[in-house]
Amino acid sequence: MIGFHNVSKAYNGQLVLDNINFKISPGEFVCLVGKSGAGKSTIVKLLTGEEKPDQGRVLFGSYEVNKLKPKELPPLRRKIGIVFQDFKLLPIKTAYENVAFAMEVDGRKQEEIDALVPQVLDIVGLADKQYNFPHELSGGMKQRVAIARALVHRPSVIIADEPTGNLDHYNAWEIVNLLLKINDLGTTLILATHSKEIINKINKRVITLDNGKIINDEPHGKYLLK
């Protein structure tokens, strides 16, 4: 359902992705591994249409993402749930409203929103923090709100870009376990990370990037970088 075909991307003449090829099937859990600057975030941005490749095709379901015009991006983005290292919550909205926002812009009915948002907040363990604003929540809680938001419109894929980067050990594992649980329920999951511990422990498919190239792609991979 996701495919990168001969994708290259350069910023200011500096090659960030060099002829990348991979496919991800529905329901997979894939770790994108690489040092800072290896091209993980660029892959995420190409998938969400934030950036366009210089070469190659980026496929997502029936979409050829590299050919979408800005106006055609919102429907694509509503099919993808994204979780960021810096959470990217809307500061003037409560936890509940942040999650509801993703459904509101999708044109969902109010009754559906009223029913689903508390349910999803409950899944991520924040049932009692619905009315708190982001600045009133800890890092781990913020990330769980972000996951709830990514989850709530039932996307076929969730992309988590360094979701544990700003969290302590305990909270990081809470988040990873949550992502594993979501994947178990059938959602495709792409986890971009450089945490050796997480990758080695979860025993999932690992795509390793180095200097813009895929140097390894294993169904049950380990952390290979030094």
Partner: protein, 302 residues
């Protein structure tokens, strides 16, 4: 559609309420711009009244020879009244001139006595002419001098007052032009300052705009709420600026009356309160909405 619109309005109100200080600061700038705008309207009205009152005070008099028969004078009056440039003609007969003279000098015993000793009325009959535009006086004078009436005319006061009338005419013109230039400049400055502060307010929200895009919000969900906020800014600023203008007008009114006695600023303000509110609302809302729409447009192209 209705759901989308109601959500956009809800987000707009939320933006407005939860961005408390930003909203207050933006409204404050908008209020200042509206006060400038209000000042310009008032300044325009005052200067128009002042100019009209100066124009009204400029006139010329045509004095007729003592021998001129009254029906001849009345004929000239009708002719002058027929000129397109002339606003009004007032016939002052010898008797009226004398009455006015006596009235003016009734305190002066010497003059009263001198008049009493005179057998005949020494004053001349005259026509007081007011032009629609002070610049037309030379034309009017020329037309009179070239006409047949010149035989019965003793003198025209224009010759004596020529330079003063011309200076006043120029002053009136310059005043009008300068007023327009100042109005346009200040209105433009007010609009630009407002636009800039709205732009800054939205600039500080650029990250949120990016987040909205990433969760799949279409453009109408992103710029809609900002336009709604802009609308709210405009309405509140219109009310506040009008409320702030009231005491300023009350304070300035007596001073204005010293310069332009025909002008009662306060009663003018309250007499036109509704149309003033309309102007403020229009200017405030247009400025708020257009600034928001233009400013947010920049961030919609990701």
């Amino acid at each position: 559609m209705a759901t989308t619109l109601s959500r956009i309005i809800k987000f707009g109100i939320q933006n407005f309420l939860r961005n408390g200080w930003l909203s207050v600061a933006t409204i404050a700038v908008l209020v200042l711009a509206l006060l400038v705008f209000h000042g310009l309207i008032v300044f325009g009205v005052i200067s128009q009244t002042a100019v009209a009152s100066i124009k009204d005070k400029i006139d010329i008099s045509v004095y007729f020879k003592d021998s001129a028969p009254e029906d001849e004078i009345l004929k000239v009056e009708r002719e002058i009244e027929g000129l397109a440039e002339v606003k009004s003609v007032d016939y002052v007969s010898k008797d009226r001139a004398l009455d006015a003279f006596k009235d003016r000098h009734k305190e002066d015993a010497v003059i009263a006595q001198a008049l009493a000793e005179l057998q005949a009325n020494p004053l001349l009959a005259s026509l007081n002419i007011k032009a629609k535009d002070p610049k037309e006086y030379p034309n009017i004078v020329e037309r009179i001098q070239d006409g047949p009436a010149i035989n019965v005319i003793e003198k025209i006061s224009y010759a004596q007052n020529k330079s003063a009338i011309e200076r006043l005419a120029r002053l009136v013109d310059t005043f009008g032009n300068a007023g327009l230039a100042i109005t346009i400049t200040l209105a433009l400055i007010g609009a630009l300052v407002t636009f800039n502060s709205v732009r800054l307010a939205i600039y500080s929200n650029r990250e949120e705009i990016g987040i909205m895009r990433l969760v799949g919000a279409s453009n109408k969900f992103i710029n809609g709420p900002y336009i709604v906020s802009g609308l709210i800014y405009g309405v509140i600023a219109a009310i506040l600026s009008l409320a702030a203008a009231a005491p300023i007008i009350a304070l300035a009114s007596p001073y204005v009356e010293v310069f332009v006695p025909e002008m009662n600023l306060q009663s003018y303000f309250y007499g036109n309160l509704i149309s003033f509110f309309g102007y403020h609302l229009l200017f405030g809302v247009v400025l708020g909405v257009v600034s928001s729409a233009v400013a947010v447009q920049r961030y919609l192209k990701l």
